[in-house]
Amino acid sequence: MSFAVITQTLLEGFLITILIFIITLVFAIPLGLIVSFGSMSRIVPLRWLTRTFVWIIRGTPLILQVIIVFYGPGLIWGWTAFPRLEAVLIAFVINYAAYFSEIYRSGIESIPRGQYEAAQVLGMTKAQIFFKVILLQVIKRIVPPMANEIITLVKDTSLARVIAVREIIMEAEDFIKSAAIIWPLFYTGVFYLLFCGILTLLFNYLERRLSYFKV
């Protein structure tokens, strides 16, 4: 089994890894915002419902959620199951939206009331207050916890293999069975480290860009 062939195979698995990563972010980042608004809503039942939902999602393992999304609809209602990759994506988007929503919520709630009031007495509209005064301060506050969560997501993608989505670790593990070699598994670590390294640089850059002011 040549190095080139193994690299090629792992790269294919890594593409799936990256696909899960990107799709999850693209959907979970905005969905999390909607969820966070729900959990801060003045409508009590909505707030209660949203917070319960977030509590359940954050309080149970992602791997369980993946399994349930894949097998649940078929076994409970007799539907045709989602394709494997879709099932993973659905579970990941919901799970990460719940985590992100809590980060957004604590970010928004940490902005002192005086910021809103100062903007109000200066005659700003609600939209102006949010977009011109509050938003950037929230972004600055949530970059570090979001960075943590997003790095965790990179590694969580490996859970997809529980329903046989061929991400990089699954590809590497197959070499143990087919060729009795373990080094491809170590090799996957290189992919993760590189990817997380790049992300870390990106987040450091973002933090530096926002360091011109203090909140």
Binding site: Q120, T125, Q137, K214
Partner: protein, 260 residues
């Protein structure tokens, strides 16, 4: 002619009555000092004037316009509240500058946003923006900070931040500028520079309502003094009447404690 007239203002939070029967008036160019012990309702009164709280009863008139009428408490649309509150400016105890903007931008931001509502904004955008900035520079000069235009709030001392906050409030040309203990959050050596700016505004006959614990300053700067205790006006008069010849026992006790 009085520019501000407050009549029988009342405000409670739940069951506790925080302000009751508050009535006073203020002529254009006068400064009113509001004194009183902690929890007496001074901040709540300023917040009512600025529509940060809605009073339960009473009226507030600015000039000939009734901006709040407790007998007819129709819930106003947001736009109308924004318009009415612009009669007032408010300087907070904790400055509340916007941290992501420079001192200059803190001053111009609200003016620029308001200018967008002008019908001639599109045609004259450049000159409108230029005017706003010019005015902001003048104000920064007035508060003695012409060298700090591009500083961010965290790069300024508390006293400097508060002076920017005063300039920010002035930029919208309020009829009445309110201060809520503008020096309480400052180190003692920084209060002087802020009081000096407020004094200079009084000398220019800016109409002001100043909540303060600085009795000496209140006496120097104000035309009228209002002593409030437990949400009720105990005594209202000229600085001489209140500070030199207080009639009420409660006023005397309060002044004794504070001149301490």
């Amino acid at each position: 002619m009085s520019i501000l007239e407050v009549k029988n203002l009342k405000k409670s939070f739940g069951l506790s009555i925080v302000l009751e029967n508050i009535s006073f008036s203020l002529d254009k160019g006068e400064s009113l000092a509001i004194i009183g012990s902690s929890g007496s309702g001074k901040t709540t009164l300023l917040r009512c004037l600025n529509f940060l709280e809605i009073p339960d009863a009473g009226t507030i008139n600015v000039g000939s316009e009734t901006i709040f009428d407790g007998n007819n408490p129709a819930t106003l649309p947001d736009k109308e509240i924004r318009k009415r509150r612009l009669h007032f400016g408010l300087v907070f105890q904790s400055f509340n500058l916007f941290p992501q903007y420079t001192a200059l931008k803190n001053i111009t931001l609200a003016c620029e946003l308001l200018a967008k509502e002008r019908s001639d904004y599109k045609e004259n955008r450049k000159s409108i923006i230029a005017d706003i900035e010019k005015k902001a520079r003048t104000l920064m000069d007035q508060v003695g900070l012409s060298g700090k235009l591009d500083f961010y709030p965290h790069q300024l001392s508390g006293g400097q931040q508060q002076r920017v906050a005063i300039a920010r409030a002035l930029a919208l040309n309020p009829d009445i500028l309110c201060f809520d203990e503008p020096t309480s959050a400052l180190d003692p050596e920084l209060t002087g520079e802020v009081l000096k700016v407020i004094k200079s505004l009084a000398d220019k006959r800016m109409t002001m309502v100043i909540v303060t614990h600085e009795m000496q300053f209140a006496r120097e700067v104000s035309d009228k003094v209002l002593f409030i205790d437990n949400g009720i006006i105990v005594e209202y008069g000229t600085p001489e009447e209140i500070f030199v010849n207080p009639r009420e026992e409660r006023t005397k006790q309060f002044l004794e404690r504070y001149s301490g």
